[in-house]
């Protein structure tokens, strides 16, 4: 990881008619970094990623992507960026090999045959390279898509919810590969919903309704939000959660397996609030605020701001 920035953009804005899909977002990602891009559905993640790789024209904004002007030099950026779409977007009526070969042609790659063969081999699909892409399972489609994005040896990968609908083993393999590639100097911007995946990123950026709520490393984000969380276990947790939620200083009470996570912004007030419930029946302990707690907290806070 160096200090050189792979993505350095300011004030990126995209409007669709009345709707502002992305509202003045600044984002900096260093080379070799894995940046997780978090936000609920429709928050503008895809729109932002599309603006970075020149698929959408930004209404406002400036900055650079891999040293090229993000507004005017999208052709140059496209050559060095791999973009993996949310939906599988390769040709289902072409074989695995043909798909990879097509991508290689589009980037006018030299030594095309060797590169494509090597890619097929790395994928572990040598025996199935003549199989149609449409016949592959979700996990294999995702691997194929990643392999296709890597064909032209990009410096930056933009992955839009790459692991949606993929089983845990395939996800684990996928993330191992991402970290290996990042170690080789590739930069990643990965949009995701999964909190466990977010925790595997070097940096996080939270986005909601087109606004960037916060960004930083996992611990930075946790520190910024100053969310205090207690974990409680015992009988009748559902009823307890109901009662806790009514308290003004308790922001969330959510069930995690056999325990309940109770969190609030002000640690002292939270402790006062929960004091009456700390009976022998229940086992209370301090817990680390998880990313999900933080995520939901940020969303609730943003919602409160916009409605007040």
């Amino acid at each position: 990881m160096t200090d050189e920035l792979a993505i350095d953009v300011h004030g990126m804005t995209k409007r669709f008619g009345q709707l502002t899909a992305v509202n003045h977002i600044d984002l900096q990602v260093r080379k070799g970094e894995i940046c997780g891009f978090l936000g609920p559905n429709g928050s503008g993640k895809t729109t932002f990623i599309r603006m970075l790789c020149g698929l959408l024209r930004a209404d406002e904004g400036s900055g650079s992507c891999l040293g090229h002007n993000v507004i005017t030099e999208s052709e140059a950026i496209k050559r060095q960026v791999g973009y993996m779409t949310q939906r599988f977007s390769f040709y289902e009526d072409l074989t695995i090999y043909e798909n990879l070969d097509f991508v290689a042609r589009m980037y006018s790659t030299k030594n095309r045959h060797e590169i494509v063969s090597a890619s097929v081999e790395r994928l572990g699909l040598k025996e199935r390279q003549r199989q149609l892409a449409g016949e592959l399972s979700g996990g294999w489609k995702q691997r194929l898509a990643l392999a296709a994005c890597l064909i032209h040896d990009p410096k930056l990968l933009l992955l839009d919810e790459p692991t949606a609908g993929v089983d845990p083993q395939a996800r684990r393999d996928f993330w191992d590969q991402i970290h290996r590639l990042a170690g080789q100097g590739l930069t990643f911007l990965i949009a995701t919903h999964y909190m466990d995946e977010a925790e595997r990123c070097h940096r996080l950026a939270f986005i909601l309704n087109g606004n960037l709520l916060t960004q930083g490393t996992v611990s930075e984000v946790a520190k910024q939000t100053r969310l205090a969380t207690w974990s409680v276990s015992g009988p009748n947790l559902v009823e307890l959660a109901e009662r806790l939620r009514r308290l003004p200083d308790v922001e969330q009470a959510a069930a995690f397996g056999s325990a309940l996570h109770v969190s609030g912004v002000d640690q002292a007030k939270l402790e006062v609030a929960i004091a009456p419930f700390r009976t022998d029946e229940y086992k209370w302990s301090r817990a680390e605020s998880g990313l999900e707690d933080i995520f939901i907290h940020l969303m609730a806070k943003a919602k409160g701001r916009s409605s007040s």
Binding site: F16, R50, C53, G54, L55, L56, R57, E75, K78, R79, V81, Y83, T85, R87, F88, S89, F90, Y91, E92, V103, M106, Y107
Partner: protein, 358 residues
């Protein structure tokens, strides 16, 4: 249905379009056909006869020609449908009771256009001169007819419908398949999401468009070959003119249709809409181009719409080359109109084609 305006438009639009086209534009009894006159006779009976022919309503004299060659050329170019030749000494021979012949040369490439007019002539000739043949000339009217009518159905003397239909099919098949295939090819990319991928790669719009068009030009030529071979061996369609010229002209026509397909694909949101648009385009092409119904039989406004369609011009060229043996000089008028259409459609398609997703 409320949210799918195009389908709704089709449901109302197609019946309306058909009503208008069939109700007002289509006419199976074409009249006012442009004709040329070669009048070598100075006598009054010749002129009387011409008036009578014009009054029948089937013929409209648009020009006078001096020689038979000039008349033939006008026929070849499709400027006139008939050349009516009243020979020298017609009046004199008539009065002598020698049954002079008048020669009517017809462009019979489309038998549907000419047949009614020709049969009207036969009836007409016996009555036309009734007023002139009175008194001492009474005896002439009673015989087997005072005039000998000779009709030359040029280009298709046996009046075989296939000679007209098969070359026409060439254009119709190309119009239908080329427009639909390209419109589908691009909307399919958009629908399946591959367009997003394609756009994220460093390709220029022109490259994508050309890449979409070139393979279908080949497909078009395969279809042309198929129809020509079948036309020749199964139906015995004459191929008098240059096949090289025909194939060259076909290139422009294919490109024009592919360009329309591309344009449709930039407007349609999905494959279904693309098919609907292609069909909407196809309908007037079939009805107004002169393929299914006589072009000259249609009212002026319908002919004007027909003139805008590349198929109309292509049909004239194909029939001209195959049946009349026309050369480049004869087809050039229709050719440049196809070219113009292709250029406009391509420019429009390229302009509408978006390199970004917004």
């Amino acid at each position: 249905m409320r949210r799918d305006r195009l389908t709704f438009g089709m449901m109302v639009g197609i019946p309306l379009l058909q009503l208008i086209l069939f109700g007002y534009a289509i006419n199976s009894d074409p009249k006012q056909l442009p004709s040329a006159v070669l009048l070598a006779d100075n006598g009054p009976q010749g002129r009387t006869l011409l008036y009578a022919i014009q009054n029948s309503g089937y013929f409209r004299f648009v020009r006078q020609v001096k020689t038979e060659t000039e008349g033939r050329e006008a026929l070849a170019r499709g400027e006139v449908q008939f050349v009516i030749n009243i020979p020298e000494n017609f009046s004199r021979d008539l009065l002598r009771g020698e049954r002079p012949a008048i020669l009517v040369e017809a462009d019979a490439t489309d038998p549907g256009t000419t047949s009614n007019a020709i049969s009207s002539l036969t009836a007409l000739l016996t009555t036309a001169l009734q007023n002139d043949l009175k008194g001492p000339l009474d005896f002439l009217a009673g015989t087997s007819g005072p005039i000998d009518l000779r009709v030359h159905a040029l280009y298709n003397p046996e009046v075989i419908t296939q000679y007209n239909i098969v070359p026409g099919l060439l254009g119709v098949v190309l119009t239908m398949t080329m427009v639909m295939i390209t419109a589908l090819a691009i909307t399919r990319e958009r629908e399946s999401g591959t367009m997003e991928n394609l756009l994220s790669m460093p390709t220029r719009p022109v490259e994508v468009l050309v890449g979409k068009i070139i393979p279908y030009i080949l497909v078009g030529y395969i279809q042309v070959t198929l129809i020509l071979v079948a036309g020749y061996f199964l139906f015995g369609v004459p191929m008098i003119g240059s096949l090289t010229l025909l194939l060259t002209v076909t290139f422009l026509f294919i490109v024009a249709n592919l360009a329309i397909g591309v344009t449709f694909s930039t407007i349609a949101e999905n494959q279904r809409q693309a098919i609907q648009m292609a069909f909407f385009f196809f309908l007037p092409n079939i009805l107004l181009s002169g393929f299914a119904f006589s072009f000259r039989g249609m009212p002026d406004w319908a002919q004007m719409i027909g003139e805008l369609l590349p198929l109309t011009h292509f049909l004239r060229i194909v029939r001209g080359i195959l049946l009349k043996g026309n050369g480049l000089a004869d087809v050039v008028v229709d050719l440049w109109q196809i070219a113009l259409f292709a250029v406009i459609a391509l420019a429009f398609g390229a302009k509408r084609y978006r390199q970004t997703l917004d």
